[in-house]
């Protein structure tokens, strides 16, 4: 039996509080667990299904077809409305999945938390990770379909997408950390969240256009920058701009007629806010982590 020299001399301290830096380092040292859990979650979900993760990819394809048929009959919206809808919906699905699953991530693993020591933050982060994998699969299929049907994607905006997803990821991580702990103390959190998300969906310009939201706000003498305080909106509109490919249809504006820099500014703002939020979330999480095993 041999131990690695590093491990045997390593000194670990367990106390009520630790710094954010230490917390992050602890999480990083368990990155392999994070990867394993993401992998496990995907594996479990598609166990006993013959085509596995292809199901994730089929969903956007299917929705696109259904919306295409539905709106060609209803005649609603504008040109290629299903594409517009899907550009926003793919982001929304990510937000929705990540928030609901990470909220339940600690309570669903109560036995583990009571018996094994590991940085608990790994649990909500792993669910975020697996939601991200799904998002990538869905986005990939959507893009492939758009290219296949020769839909015009605006390449000048595509480079903003990874940045937007990164900023959104930080925001979702912070929310996941806070909500997962809140759900341990009051299980109502998950139910409240489900309702809140339904309302929140309509707060984002997914089914309607951003410009319409702005118009409504200015009509009621409310500040038109208000929607941009919502990180999901900032991300949704950049996806619409890049994937739908234009900010106007036959003279009618859908999105503000600004260039990529305007979108970049929005993303930068939410990134900064999300980082601050994440720091608060990590601190909050750390303060409660030592009692989770007992409260569950």
């Amino acid at each position: 039996m041999s131990t690695t020299g590093g491990a045997s001399t390593e000194l670990r301290i367990i106390s009520a509080k630790r710094t954010i830096r230490q917390h992050v380092l602890d999480i990083i040292s368990f990155r392999e667990l994070l990867a394993t859990l993401v992998h496990k979650e995907l594996k479990v979900r598609y166990k006993n299904s013959s085509i596995g993760f292809v199901w994730s990819m089929i969903q956007p394809l299917f929705l696109l077809t259904i919306y295409g048929i539905a709106f060609s009959i209803l005649g609603q919206g504008f040109r290629a409305f299903p594409v517009w809808l899907m550009s926003g919906l793919v982001v929304w699905t990510f937000v929705n999945t990540a928030m609901t699953t990470s909220t339940e991530s600690i309570t669903a693993n109560a036995i583990l938390v009571g018996k094994v020591n590991f940085p608990r933050a790994v649990l909500p982060l792993a669910t975020l990770g697996s939601a991200f994998v799904h998002f990538c699969l869905q986005l990939g299929t959507l893009t492939a379909v758009l290219i296949a049907v020769r839909h015009h994607i605006d390449v000048a905006y595509v480079w903003l997408l990874p940045l937007a997803v990164l900023a959104l990821g930080l925001f979702l991580a912070a929310m996941g950390l806070i909500l997962s702990v809140a759900n341990v103390y009051a299980r109502d959190t998950q139910h409240l969240l489900n309702l809140a998300l339904i309302a929140f969906f309509w707060g984002n310009p997914i089914i309607y256009e951003y410009i319409r939201l702005q118009g409504w706000l200015s009509h009621h003498h409310l500040p038109t920058w208000l929607p941009l305080t919502n990180p999901v909106t900032s991300v949704v509109i950049i996806f619409q701009r890049a994937l739908y490919g234009t900010d106007h249809v036959t003279g009618r504006n859908l999105l503000p007629p600004d260039g990529p820099l305007w979108y970049l500014r929005n993303i930068a703002i939410i990134a900064v806010v999300s980082i601050a939020l994440l720091a608060i979330a990590l601190r909050f999480f750390d303060r409660h982590e030592g009692n989770l095993a007992e409260t569950l």
């Binding site: 368990f30 394993t36 094994v116 020591n117």
Partner: protein, 400 residues
């Protein structure tokens, strides 16, 4: 060098009189919140040098499991800190986190990842884990098809084959069949010989005597004895006696709802003024209990242990076909037998009272009473079986 240094460790739990698990309860109780703090550990200091095997003794609610959880990091101390040197593995988690749909192999990797072990390292140790767990080809079957024994064996195999510097053990050696238990004890002894630090939490004084170099006794979150296992076990037993009445009113017992108030043993030897009984004599074990709240499905278990802490005999009211049913208030339960067919020896008696509906231990008395048995049998082992020998001469040697 010290493997574990706990300094000024306190753990305070916030008890909510009504379990406020929902937001509604919280809002309702916001103004007149009936919270009270329960201190499970009181500024505890404990230094465990590398290579020592420490036993932690204490009755239920003494804080011993809380201490172990603070050392493992599952809980964090409210004040004070614990310093650990080296890799820690605990036998608290047997099979926790196994996913039923995944195979044993996949679960081993996940289990190890939770312990912070890299995939590379687990690959190196994989064969010895499967070997130890005696799973063979089952390792590639989903664990939902495992028997409970296989499940626990695999969990144990992962924890113990990670070559920890510090091993934490919490009353798990009662799992699995006897052959596997022996294997576990042997592996623990191997770790001891290799200079690893082991912390044992148990009710069983005999296990402590057999394995530990040092033992501490906890009571109400304080260390009341620390030293040689023999000396600590003596304190532990005296304490159990002295406080058997008081413990009924402690926070923990009150929360648990019922307790054993006395255990008495009656046998023929006593009427002749002997402290021992003779093999084949009648025996009655009388257990008095008191319950603060109604317990719907209670069970009493009695067990006789030999000097090494091995089970000689164990049974319970359900197995005997006389379920205790509902406990409310005070009562006495007696176990009687016309004959005890045991060979010479001292047998420790332990009694457990549990709530089967909620699967929790209500009270436990271990080693307070013992049986000294004298037997006239010419035999070795535990059981007095009367054999008559008859030799029938069938045929003489073949004549040349």
């Amino acid at each position: 060098m010290d493997a574990i240094v706990a300094s000024g460790v306190s753990k305070v739990f916030r008890l909510h009189t009504a379990q406020a698990d929902s937001l509604k309860d919280r809002v309702i109780h916001l103004g007149r919140s009936k919270r009270r703090d329960f201190t499970a550990l009181h500024e505890l200091d404990l230094t465990i040098p590398q290579g020592q095997t420490l036993g932690i003794l204490g009755h239920n609610g003494s804080g011993k499991s809380t201490l172990l959880k603070c050392i493992s990091g599952i809980l964090r101390p409210t004040t004070g800190q614990v310093q650990l040197r080296g890799r820690i593995a605990s036998l608290l988690e047997l099979g926790a986190g196994f996913h039923p749909d995944l195979t044993g192999r996949e679960n081993v990797y996940i289990n190890a990842a939770f312990l912070g072990i890299s995939r590379k390292e687990i690959e190196r140790r994989f064969d010895s884990i499967v070997d130890f767990a005696e799973l063979d080809t089952f390792i590639d079957e989903p664990v939902k098809h495992y028997s409970s024994g296989m499940y626990v064996r695999l969990g144990f195999a992962v924890a113990i084959n990670l070559d920890p510097d510090i091993l934490l053990v919490d009353e798990v050696l009662a799992v699995g069949d006897e052959v596997f238990q022996l294997k576990c004890i042997n592996r623990i002894k191997q770790l001891q010989a290799a200079g690893r630090t082991i912390v044992f939490v148990t009710h069983n004084a005999d296990t402590v005597r057999e394995i530990c170099d040092r033992a501490i006794v906890l009571d109400h979150g304080r260390v009341i004895a620390d030293g040689e296992p023999g000396e600590s076990i003596r304190v532990f037993r005296e304490h159990l006696h002295a406080h058997s009445h008081e413990s009924a009113s402690t926070v923990h017992s009150a929360a648990d709802g019922a307790s054993i108030t006395s255990v008495t043993v009656q046998h023929a030897g006593q009427s002749h003024g002997h402290s021992y009984m003779t093999s084949g004599d009648a025996l009655t074990i009388e257990i008095a209990y008191e319950s603060a709240e109604p317990i719907d499905d209670a069970q009493l278990e009695i067990e006789l242990l030999d000097r090494l802490g091995r089970t000689v005999f164990r049974t319970d009211t359900d197995r005997l076909g006389t379920p205790l049913g509902r406990l409310d208030g005070k009562g006495t339960v007696s176990f009687s037998t016309g004959s005890v067919p045991l060979l010479d020896g001292d047998y420790a008696l332990s009694v457990r009272l549990s709530d089967r509906r909620h699967d929790r231990l209500l009270d436990l008395r271990e080693g307070e009473q013992s049986l000294s048995v004298v037997s006239h049998q010419r035999a070795a082992g535990y059981t007095a079986i009367n054999f008559d020998v008859a030799h029938v001469y069938a045929e003489g040697p073949a004549q040349p």
